[in-house]
Amino acid sequence: MPPRINYAEAFPEGQKAMYGFAKAVHQSGLEHSLIQLVLTRASQINGCAWCLNMHTRDAIKAGEQPRRLHLLHAWRETPLYSERERAALALTESMTLIAKTRQVPDDVYDAAAAQFNEHDLAALMLTIVEINTWNRLAITAEKSPVLDQTLPG
């Protein structure tokens, strides 16, 4: 399915600015394995094919277990994720679905603040809004990944 629009080509200044933002976020010091879980979880919720393909592949290439990506949908019901990861995932869900949740409740915020110092917590929040932007752009443009049947690695 061809994309509806190539927004990067049509508005290059916007894409350049987004890349600058992504760079600041990814160089924030937050551990990359955690960033990949956050990117994957938000992309699952929003249903972004391009992002799910890209971030699950990147995660696995970087050493993530496929099972931990499969079970992200039900992270609360498994012992597979650390307290730090669980706090990040709860914040990811709360912020991603903000129109439903109407707020980030104190218990979710406090759990995240307990696990992350202020700089890292801000970087985590920016990571969450970054992926929510990429999801929206790719979904709207119907940007569809090519299926490569083989798992990386």
Partner: protein, 147 residues
């Protein structure tokens, strides 16, 4: 309600880079009156007090009719908005609530009809940006400036 982090203090480089995206949108050529409507509508849907206060105030200062902002959630049921504005508002709602139903073909086609590709890409990014700010300000309980 005021003991959550201050983003600008906690991660200034990240916030500065966010500002870069906003500047790109602001300088894109898309009319500012339209961007303010988009910002107000997304902020209504996401329930961001800081953003709603700021964008409504800015819109009115910029000459927007206050009744259009008050009735904005029901824009479909009025004749108060141009076809171009209606297309942008429909896209705003679909992209804001992206997890529900993505962006249906009729919403996309109406937007593509009204906006050429560069403007449409800028509009998409504008919708993303307000969605980003809504989330950040709600998450940090940023108080609206009510002066």
């Amino acid at each position: 309600m005021t003991n959550r982090i201050k983003l600008y203090e906690a991660f200034p480089e990240g916030l500065s880079a966010m500002g870069g995206v906003g500047t790109a949108v602001h300088d894109s050529g898309l009319e500012h009156s339209l961007i303010e409507l988009v910002d107000a509508r997304a902020s209504q849907i996401n329930g961001c007090a800081f953003c709603l206060n700021m964008h409504v105030t800015n819109a009115v200062k910029g000459g927007e009719n206050e009744m259009r902002l008050l009735v904005l959630p029901a824009w479909r049921e009025t004749t108060w908005f141009t076809e171009r504005e209606r297309a942008a508002l429909a896209l705003t709602e679909a992209m804001t609530l992206i997890a529900e139903n993505h962006v249906p073909d009729d919403v996309w086609e109406a937007a593509a009809e009204e906006f050429e590709e560069r403007e449409l890409s800028a509009l998409m990014l504008a919708i993303c940006q307000i969605n980003a700010w809504n989330r950040l300000q709600v998450a940090t309980e940023a108080p609206p400036r009510l002066d």
